[in-house]
Symmetry: C2
Subunit: 338 residues, 2 copies
């Protein structure tokens, strides 16, 4: 266990680097506070396709292709893909990436998939299994509403605790070649169930899992919150953020000064009517690519704990009266440009 640290974390003795990343988003994300930072903002949310699912596949394909180009790599140079999305049977990923012809590890971590993919991609590079790999994930507002809640045509009202699924895909090329940002370590997360049964309040379902992973990361690495420039959760939103800060305080850690939530950053919730904030696999992925990695690239951030959060919501288990467990995977990112 040369690479293991503490009860459940990993510390890479030869850290892999994030060689490039790309973000492709929909119109609403383009109009939000981070709009100008994204690589591509689609002209319409169908991205030229016939269905929402195909549109989401196109998001992934474009993000992957763009990331390959930025890293100056051909698809033949990328040995494995670690990818997933929110849809049943990962169809956005499969249909989006199939024509690349790269071996695929399909993942399902709900909205924590960006973290799961980055961890496994890092393990693959650091373990000597591959020179370059791709971590990619996506979500799409319309395909997610259809899958999990109500078709858009119903025009359902949304409670204030609800979040808005981000239309977007973030892709990351990880490699052994030295870059400016390294994946120094990771804290894979447990599924945690606090008994939340409200599919319109995913922030509350995910906050306990985020707390568990962040707490474990701090303990395993022997760190205080201020050892991170930012502790970035995926898509807790305003409701989930308050719960997380409270839960961590009970465990002796005050992260309020360094906490940031991608779901809160990506929209102007008042102007854009997104209630508690953004959510979805794509939310944390595109925010990492567009708003966080650039600051790590140039040393404005020296060390960030990136913790995408997932609500393991399924219409089947939900309709059978089950609660919605949460899961969160932590990734330690460091400036390596010196």
């Amino acid at each position: 266990m040369a690479e293991a640290i503490g009860a459940q974390s990993i510390q890479f003795s030869q850290p892999p680097y994030i060689l490039s990343s790309a973000s492709v988003v929909g119109t609403k994300e383009g109009e939000g506070p981070l709009g100008e930072l994204f690589d591509v903002v689609g002209a319409d949310d169908k991205f030229g396709e016939e269905s929402w699912e195909e549109a989401e596949s196109t998001l992934q394909k474009e993000a992957a292709t763009l990331a390959f180009g930025k890293a100056d790599l051909a698809k033949e140079d990328v040995r494995y893909i670690f990818g997933g999305d929110l849809l049943g049977q990962n169809i956005a990923t499969t249909f989006g990436l199939m024509e690349l012809g790269i071996p695929l590890f399909g993942l399902y971590g709900a909205c924590s998939t960006a973290g799961e993919a980055l961890i496994l991609a890092s393990m693959a590079v650091a373990g000597g299994y591959a020179d370059n790999v791709l971590a990619v994930t996506s979500s799409h507002f319309a395909s997610a509403e259809k899958q999990f809640r109500f078709p858009l045509e119903y025009a359902n009202q949304r409670p204030l605790s609800s979040t808005w699924t981000v239309t977007g895909s973030g892709a990351f090329v990880l490699g052994a070649k030295r870059g400016n940002v390294r994946v120094a370590g990771a804290t894979p997360g447990k599924a945690v169930d606090y008994g939340v049964k409200d599919s319109m309040n995913m922030g509350a379902a995910m906050a306990p899992a985020a707390c568990d992973t962040i707490y474990r990361n701090l303990v395993d690495f022997g760190r205080k919150p201020e050892d991170y420039d930012k502790i970035v959760t995926g898509d807790l939103g305003t409701v989930g953020r308050e719960i997380l800060l409270g839960l961590l305080k009970e465990k002796g850690f005050d992260i309020s000064d360094v906490h940031m939530d991608c779901g809160i950053e990506i929209y102007d919730s008042k102007e854009q009517n997104t209630n508690a904030g953004g959510s979805g696999c794509g939310c944390s992925a595109v925010t990492l690519s567009a708003a966080i990695l650039p600051k790590l690239e140039h040393g404005a951030y020296r060390r960030v704990l990136f913790v995408p959060t997932g609500a393991l919501l399924s219409t089947v288990s939900f309709n059978e009266g089950q609660s919605v467990p949460g899961i969160a995977h932590g990734v330690v990112l460091e400036y390596a440009g010196e």
Copy 2:
């Protein structure tokens, strides 16, 4: 890339070992040709639960617990779980394994998930990230029919090319400690689409992916089919087997002497009315645990290529007119008892 070999394979310089495994199956599997080999055959297919999905969760929990016991490990000794199932949002896995409190990498590889889980679990151990990990997967006839085809209550007729989803879970503890079976290498597979649009003929959808992975394994390792005692596909069934043998012959490899398909082995298709054979994540997993690993344990087999096959079927993409791509992940298992 010290651990990489050929275009897409992995050769472990310090191979992990399969320390234990367990198989838990339903009544029909218990009545089949392998019936006496399984660890547990449920008295009824609900396994004491209220719903088919909860029954499938219980299958996983029992298989995992049994495998821990056989390896003489407490759950605290197992650092990570690599698991998945066929259901949307992996609910069988999440709800089945949550109370173990072990960090979870959720996977989706359709019926190839046993292979995907074994590969990632092996990479985790061989890379020094963990001493012991669990790879686990499951399927359940009733939950799968509800998810993918028709509720059982409809009593739909089934065409001869259809397969029967296995009710079962296979769990595998992998570790660094020396055992009698090692994971010597792996060939992660690509999603391959031959344009099959018949959800009742999954064998045809998966055979091209199996061909691609087996071909690539033989080329990457510089082997001939007879270098393996068995090349074991997951759930092609009789229809898919014929297609696979033909496709590989076109590429210059005749594997007919060493080929075995778990879907063909697990049922007496005439007596048990299972048409083309068994299928599902559980099919290859329980057959590996109950019928293949014991032969590797004692050297009756010296080297086996285990290739679970998955059909990336989704009702959403299928109803939108998309084809069913296949994927297959190859795992090289060797007798290490000398």
